[in-house]
Structure formats: C-alpha cells, structure tokens
C-alpha cells in the first residue's frame, strides 16, 4: 500500500471533468474517445494515500476534490541533450559572416 501523505503536504490531484462520450460534439474521434482530465496542485487538507480521493486547498484558497496523484509533484521539463543538428549553426554562420574579410590576427 502506498505510503501516507501528511496533511499540509503540497500535492497534485486528478479529476475527470468530462468522461469519454460526454465531450463536446465538435471534438475529433481520438479526443472524444478519452475523458477530459484535470490536474492541479494544492495543500492536502487531511492525511491521504495516492489513489484515494482527497481534498486540497489551492494556492488561491479554493477547496478542490480529486484523486491524490503525486506528493511533491516534480517539474519534469528540462533542456535535455545538446543536439548535433543545432551545434554547428553558430560556426557556419560566423564563417559566412567573415568570408572575404581579412583575418586581422593573421
């Protein structure tokens, strides 16, 4: 069983806003087949475990109910690896800029 997350912890919750089949009529098929989901963060109002329904207070002070997903939710986005497709652009452009210009150091 998942560990207890203490009251007051900063957590992420999950809700289904519109189940599949009750979505807006204009959505394409692939979107209509899946629910509209919401994730948001806040402070846990009572102790709870991931997967349980809990209540949070959001940063603006609203109370929202949802399934406890992640305690201390991580910001996953990053820069990632350097890419060879970008690495040479600066050198190539410098070479074009200095084409035909005397090398003053030489």
């Amino acid at each position: 069983m998942a560990a207890i997350v203490n009251k007051g912890s900063w957590v992420q919750i999950y809700q289904v806003i519109l189940p599949a089949g009750q979505r807006a009529p204009q959505v394409p098929d692939d979107t209509g087949r899946v629910p509209l989901e919401l994730r948001t963060k806040g402070f846990l109002l009572e102790d709870g475990r991931p997967g349980e329904e809990v209540m949070i207070t959001t940063y603006t002070g609203r109370r929202l109910k949802g399934i406890l997903e992640e305690p201390a939710p991580v910001y996953q986005h990053k820069f990632g690896r350097p890419l060879p497709e970008l690495l040479l652009i600066g050198k190539e452009l410098r070479a074009i800029l200095t084409e035909g210009v005397e090398d003053s150091a030489g």
Partner: protein, 468 residues
C-alpha cells in the same frame, strides 16, 4: 445549483461572460452582422496615454529596440546586390513576465482591480498566463490560469509545462487540462464559481494594451533619427498581437508601415486532436490558431473579439518549425540574445523578407519572449524525437508538421511563404453567412464587412457574389 454538464454550462455562456467581463457587448451591436468596433475600442478600452500610465505603474513596456547588426550583415551576404533591409528587434522579453503579453495583462488586471473584482482568471496555455499571474501579484488579486497541457498519456508539452511552472511561481492556481476545446467549459465553470474577472486575451482592454508596443516602435525609431519602419513583422496566432501593434503604429502616425503577420506552418495537424497534440514543436504563433482566428475572430471567449487581424494585415506569411529553431540559434550565436523559440517566428520571416527589401529600408521584428527549460529549441527537439518526429538538417521545404522538423543547412533556405489573404478574407465572409444565417447583405453590413477585411465595398460585393 445550476446544472454543470457541458451543454448546460455552454448555454449560460453569455450571462457568465457578461458578469465576468462587466461589459454588455450588445450595446455596440448594429445588426445581426455589424457592430461598432471603433466605438467599442474607444469607449471600453483606455486611451494610449492612460495605458502608458497603467503599464508604467507595473514596469511594463518601454522595452529596448535593438538593431540586429550581425543578422543584417548575414542577410546582405546572401541577398541580391543592394538588398538587405536593416533588422530591428523589440526585446519584449524584458517585460516583467518575459513577454509582450504583460502589456495585455497590465490593462486587464488594472481594470479588474478598479472594478472591485477579487481575482482574475485566464484561459491560456501561453505566455499570457504568466503575464496575468505576475500582474495579479503586483495588484494583490488572486489568479487562476486554465491551461491545455497533457495528452491522454499524461505527457505534457514542455513549453506549456514551463509556462505553468511560471504561473505557479507568481502564486497562481493552475488548472492543467488534457487536450480539447472544453477548456472553455472548465473556464466558464471557474468564472461562475469564483466571480473573478475574465482576463480574456480578446477584450478591448487586452488589445488596447498592445497598442503601446506599436507606438513605441514608431517613437523609438523617430527618437534615433531613423526613418519610419517600412515593415513590422508580427507573430500571428489569435490576432491580438497584430491588431494591437497595428493600431499603436497608426496612433503614433506610422500608418504607412506594412503590417506583416507570420505564423509557423502546422498545416495537417488537428488542434483538438489528442494524438496530434504532442507532435508539434510550437504551441502558439502557428497556423492552427492564425488562420481560424483571422477568418472567424468571434470564436474567442468573449462575444465580440477585439482582435481582428484582417482589418490591419497587409501580408501573411508562414515559416517552418525548423527555420524558427535555426533563427533562434542564430539570434543567440550572432546577436548574443538567447530567447524563446515561439517568439522568434516573426524573426525567421523577417530574415527572409529583409532579403527582398532595399538596404536603406527598416524591418522590425516586434517581439521576443523569455526562454528556459521546456521553452527552448533543445527541449522541443529532444521532445519531438521522443515522440517519433524526425529531426534532421536538410531542406525545410520538405518539413511536414507532425512527421519531421527540418533544420535548414544554409541560411538561404529560409523562406517566408506567402498565404493568400484573399482566400482567408473569402472564408471570413463564408463564416459570417454561415454563423449569422443572414442571406442578403446590404447597407451598413456591407460597410462593416469592408472594414473587417480591408477591402472596398465594391470588392466585398464581388467577393460575396463569388460565394455559392
């Protein structure tokens, strides 16, 4: 308690909006089709002088106008003899929240505070969220941002994840949704529940906020003894950036400047598709917003969109994703300015357009945006690759959105591809007929439509006759 299923909430849209914007749009209505745009902007918005004061109070605007000398030199290396306009860049990343959107937010949040709202809500996956959150923090209002972030697998678009983080950094509550246009439904429910102000991107306040950007371009050039800008290139999505900038230029007596819209070409990707969502490397400034908003502005979250691009646009060009990444790299490497990729859409277009202009002419790129984890070429290209997109160097003409991102091999390959504005204007007219159900257009409706698409009445008549 009123019902909260999709249809029931959407049916209450107008009454929710009236309360949340504090504005009765019906008083500008003239007919099923026509409304008094000029009067709406004049009466509801603020004057340029007032906006300057409002923005100064929170440190917004008056951003540097930088001449990109190395990029101009590069343009002249590859352009025909005598060609190669000077490229200037308005460094909007210098605004408090890191983008020009601070200008829009400044006026909306000021207006909300003045009218006694406790908080502001905005439906946006873009830089506007951070802008509203930052302004709300300064004015002691609460702030809720509703974003479209995840696909069904819970995989977030890196750029939007970063924008969400930034909103949270300013103390906003961020509601992060999976893909779908029902973001608007969620937004309406939040407005109804909280009674907060709808800091829509598309109110007269928001659009008037951008006018200072256009005006600054004119006055900053003038103050340096430069000629009037020959062209201003504007990244185009919802139309507010273009509309506000063009109006500001006109107000600052730079009405001869050509207004060129630029969008990233994402043709072939469906904007409401869960599958396509994470197959794009740009989440704004693209044709998926630019074309539909130009041809039907009133699809926005207010009854009458104050952003009406076809009233002002002279040319509309597209660039490829790979070209924008290339120019983003060039801006960092040659000009020492590391900025976010989406804001460099207009830069990529200007780089191509400058090659067709005389050396004495001036082309202005009117924005940059901040960069950071997620909002960066590396982040986007690594993410694209993880999602099965081919990333390679080659001929950007062969790039196909959703399948490949092709980084040019040489600067000469970068193009500004002309979109047929007349086709978009025609589709605007089609949408008017379809959405209002009006069969015969005459009198003041004709005058209105001529203003809407910047054509003569005779031309509008001829275009209407060509419709089935």
């Amino acid at each position: 308690m009123p019902a909260d299923d999709y249809q029931a909430v959407m049916a209450r849209k107008n009454q929710i909006m009236k309360k949340a914007v504090g504005l009765d749009y019906s008083r500008f209505s003239r007919s099923e089709i026509a409304f008094d745009y000029g009067r709406m902007m004049a009466e509801v918005g603020y004057s340029l002088a007032e906006i300057i004061k409002i923005q100064q109070a929170t440190g917004v605007g008056n951003t540097p106008l930088l001449e990109l000398k190395n990029l101009t030199a590069l343009v002249r290396k590859i352009a025909p003899r005598g060609k190669g306009a000077r490229i200037f860049l308005k460094d909007e990343a210098a605004n408090p929240s890191g983008s020009f959107k601070a200008r829009r937010a400044a006026v909306s949040v000021y207006h909300a505070e003045k009218n006694g709202y406790d908080g502001v809500v905005a439906a946006t996956s873009g830089n506007y969220g951070a802008a509203v959150a930052s302004q709300a923090a300064m004015r002691n209002l609460k702030c809720i941002i509703v974003q479209e972030v995840f696909d069904r697998q819970g995989q977030g678009q890196p750029e939007i994840l970063e924008k969400g983080r930034k909103c949270e950094a300013y103390g906003a509550e961020v509601l992060q949704l999976s893909v779908g246009p029902e973001l608007f439904y969620t937004f309406l429910r939040v407005l109804e529940e909280t009674g907060y102000f709808n800091a829509s991107l598309y109110t007269p306040f928001g659009i008037a906020g951008v006018e200072t950007l256009g005006a600054e371009i004119a006055t900053q050039l003038r103050a340096r003894g430069e000629r009037e800008a020959d062209a201003v290139v504007i990244t185009h999505a919802g139309g507010g950036n273009l509309t506000g900038t063009a109006r500001g230029l006109i107000k600052a007596n730079s009405g001869k400047t050509k207004i060129i819209g630029a969008s990233v070409d994402l043709s072939g990707l469906h904007m409401a598709s869960d599958r396509d969502f994470n197959r794009k490397s740009f989440t704004t400034g693209h044709t998926g917003f630019g074309v539909p908003f130009a041809s039907w502005p009133d699809r926005a979250d207010v009854p009458r969109n104050a952003a009406r691009a076809l009233r002002y646009i002279d040319r509309y060009v597209t660039v490829k994703q790979g070209e924008v990444f290339y120019l983003t790299e060039a801006l960092a490497q040659l000009e020492g300015l590391e900025r976010g990729p989406a804001g460099n859409t207009s830069l990529a277009a200007a780089f191509a357009l400058a090659q067709t202009m005389e050396q004495g002419q001036i082309i202005v790129v009117q924005e940059t945006e901040y960069t950071g984890a997620g909002k960066h070429p590396l982040a986007q290209l690594n993410f694209a690759r993880e999602n099965g997109i081919r990333v390679e160097r080659g001929n950007p003409d062969l790039e196909k959105a959703g399948e490949s991102v092709i980084i040019p091999e040489r600067p000469e390959q970068i193009k500004a591809r002309e979109l047929d504005l007349d086709r978009i204007k025609l589709s605007y007219l089609k949408n008017i007929l379809k959405n209002t159900g009006v069969k015969k257009i005459e009198g003041e409706d004709l005058v209105f439509l001529a203003e809407e698409i910047k054509k003569s009445i005779a031309e509008v008549r001829a275009m209407l006759n060509r419709l089935p």
